[in-house]
């Protein structure tokens, strides 16, 4: 296809992506270097019958005028990045100097909002992803053994947790694990502890969110693996069987190697999607015990005074995180591409 034709065909979607993905990223970077104007203070002298008082108050008119004149705020350089709400370099150094043990240092770091969110995001990404792979493969193997007629029904119901809006899916579970809901009440009965609540402690909240994550994503892995199982070469399986491979050995040495490209594919998609975990935290109202990077951006933008600079700095750090996560994949794809061309 000539360059010119290619250009005209791709132009509309390129424009859309440039205007609404590339430029906003630039805008985020610029915003992250700025910080909101401080409120303009004025000193007012109020005189009463008992003498005069000097009083400092906020000049809201002047503050508004200043904010309108320079909506970006004042230039702050990397100040927002190293502030307490983000990388908190000073606090980190202080904690390192003061704490006697690594555990103490760790617990101090976990009190910093950014590191708390980062810890949850990474834990969620790296715990949910492998579990999704294992559970998905197990379901796929199970369904593959079912009679043909039952497979359609299984796939139908399996798709539900994945297709449904994450916020709605987490709400549905949230109502069930409520102390008055069916799962919450049953758990209290099982453990004979009327005070037991899955929302009470950070550990249980994290656990609940992980369970939700696996429940939500397992269908995806299942469907992809199931499609892959249909293409496992029958001859290799037969050959393995003649050589005396047991059922487990056939799965281990024939099926799983055949599915390896799919494992890579699912891992890639899951890493990307789990790293942006956000809606479940809103749905489970878990922000007290678990926040993610996406969630702190949301809460910065949400409040009464929107903190654009702070949200933007977290956004840039999140984008860097995504970039680090994706680098191995990109390098691999680049090598494949060059090999194919060569």
């Amino acid at each position: 296809m000539p360059h010119r034709t290619f250009f005209w065909f791709i132009l509309p979607s390129l424009t859309a992506m440039f205007l609404f993905i590339a430029l906003p990223i630039v805008s985020v970077v610029i915003q992250s270097l700025h910080v909101e104007h401080e409120q303009v203070l004025e000193v007012v002298e109020t005189c009463g019958p008992f003498g005069c008082n000097e009083e400092t108050r906020v000049d809201s008119e002047a503050t508004r005028a200043l904010r309108e004149a320079e909506p970006l705020g004042r230039f702050n350089g990397l100040g927002t990045y190293v502030s307490r709400a983000h990388l908190a370099t000073d606090e980190l150094a202080a904690a390192w100097a003061e704490s006697d043990s690594l555990a103490e240092f760790g617990s101090q770091v976990m009190n910093l909002p950014f590191y708390k969110a980062l810890a949850f995001t990474l834990a969620y990404t790296f715990i949910v992803t492998p579990l999704v792979l294992v559970l998905g493969l197990a379901i796929a193997l199970g369904v593959n053994g079912l009679p043909q007629r039952l497979r359609g029904v299984t796939i139908f119901f399996s798709l539900l947790p994945m297709i449904v809006t994450p916020l709605i899916g987490s709400l549905v579970l949230f109502w069930m694990i409520d102390a008055d809901g069916i799962i919450g009440a049953t758990l209290q009965l099982l453990f004979d502890d009327p005070e037991l609540s899955l929302k009470a402690s950070p550990t249980l909240t994290w656990l609940t969110l992980f369970v939700y994550g696996v429940w939500h994503s397992a269908p995806f892995a299942f469907i992809v693996f199931y499609a892959g199982l249909q293409t496992v070469p029958e001859e290799t399986l037969e050959a393995a069987m003649i050589d005396g491979a047991s059922r487990w050995e056939r799965v281990r040495y024939v099926v799983i190697p055949h599915l390896m490209p799919l494992v890579v594919f699912i891992t890639l998609i899951q890493l990307m999607d789990n790293f942006r975990v956000f809606e479940p935290i809103v749905g489970f109202q878990a922000q007290a015990s678990a926040t993610s990077l996406s969630y702190i951006i949301y809460s910065d933008l949400r409040g009464d005074t929107q903190q654009f600079g702070s949200a933007a700095a977290t956004s840039v750090l999140t984008i860097l995180g995504v970039a680090i996560l994706l680098t191995p994949v990109l390098i691999r794809t680049w090598r494949d591409f060059n090999r194919k061309r060569a």
């Binding site: 859309a16 990223i25 539900l160 549905v172 469907i223 037969e238 654009f308």
Partner: protein, 293 residues
């Protein structure tokens, strides 16, 4: 191959069937339970005393005179004006799907037919954009949108959703177009069609399965979006998902939880129907990217 070699031990069959059954219950039960519960009053669905109340519904019978009640639905749709959110969801989703597909088929076709290095780079950039958490982009929109007075309007949100959708749409359509032999459009061009004519008259008719599948995923992305719609739309034209989240702010008031439950069921129903009719397309879409790796 003889059937005997394929025969499994009874124990294994029981084990794997039991496992699949357990998974089915895990996958389906929460939805069925919520659907059932949405026709009860709050005292029954959230029952301190006995979860059997949610099934038998003694309080529902006492309060409303029947075992099932539509109070939650009435409260959500009419009293709280949920129908307005349904309407804006319908507008946003249908516009997003149509525009995404129009731009996506053009771009995906070009990417599939161009062997140049920059086509590969564009796909890589699209992959990186696909990985970007949406909320990080949202913080980039807000300030300019406030400045230029674009915030809070349906068209702005539609365009943003289309753009966010593009990387994924391009990838998916590009892999569908790769499956269509090059000879088809090239022979049309030999017969005197321009590139665009051969795209429109020869390729599009055979592309419908791919377009429908991609459309389904664009639909899901726009329908399920929370990050963008919650931040870019004003109160009066909010879509369903952020509205449901805002229902929860007022849970202290008796009965409002049931509004949220009813709204959740209402928002899930279209997805249920979607799976019912398009299961095959959804599955093929999920696996389309996987096959080629």
């Amino acid at each position: 191959m003889s059937a005997a070699a394929h025969r499994k031990s009874t124990g294994l069959i029981v084990l794997s069937t039991g496992f699949v059954l357990l998974w089915l219950i895990l996958a389906a039960f929460p939805f069925l339970w919520t659907l059932w519960g949405s026709f009860k009053v709050q005292g029954d669905f959230f029952s301190r005393a006995d979860w059997m109340n949610a099934i038998r519904g003694p309080l529902t019978l006492e309060e409303t005179g029947a075992r099932f009640t539509g109070q939650g639905y009435w409260g959500a749709w009419i009293e709280s004006g949920f129908w307005r959110n349904v309407l804006s969801t319908a507008i946003i989703v249908s516009a997003t799907v149509v525009i995404s597909l129009t731009l996506g088929t053009l771009g995906g076709y070009a990417l599939a037919r161009s062997g140049y290095r920059y086509a590969f780079w564009l796909l890589m950039i699209a992959l990186i954009f696909r990985a970007m958490p949406h909320i990080t982009l949202v913080s980039g929109y807000l300030l300019p949108f406030f400045e230029w007075n674009l915030w809070g309007h349906l068209p702005t949100t539609i365009i943003v959703l289309v753009a966010i959708n593009q990387p994924f749409t391009l990838w998916m359509l590009h892999s569908f177009f790769l499956n269509i032999p090059k000879d088809l459009d090239e022979s049309a061009m030999v017969d005197g069609c321009t590139r665009f004519q051969s795209f429109r008259l020869v390729i599009m008719p055979v592309m419908w399965p791919g377009v429908i599948t991609t459309g389904l995923f664009s639909f899901l992305l726009a329908y399920n979006d929370f990050a963008v719609t919650a931040m870019l739309l004003s109160q009066e034209n909010q879509t369903m998902v952020p509205r449901i989240a805002s229902f929860l702010g007022s849970t202290q008031q008796e009965g409002n939880v049931m509004f949220a439950v009813a709204a959740v069921v209402s928002a899930t129903a279209p997805l249920f129907v979607l799976i019912l009719f398009f299961q095959r397309q959804i599955v093929s879409g999920l696996t389309a990217g996987a096959v080629k790796g």
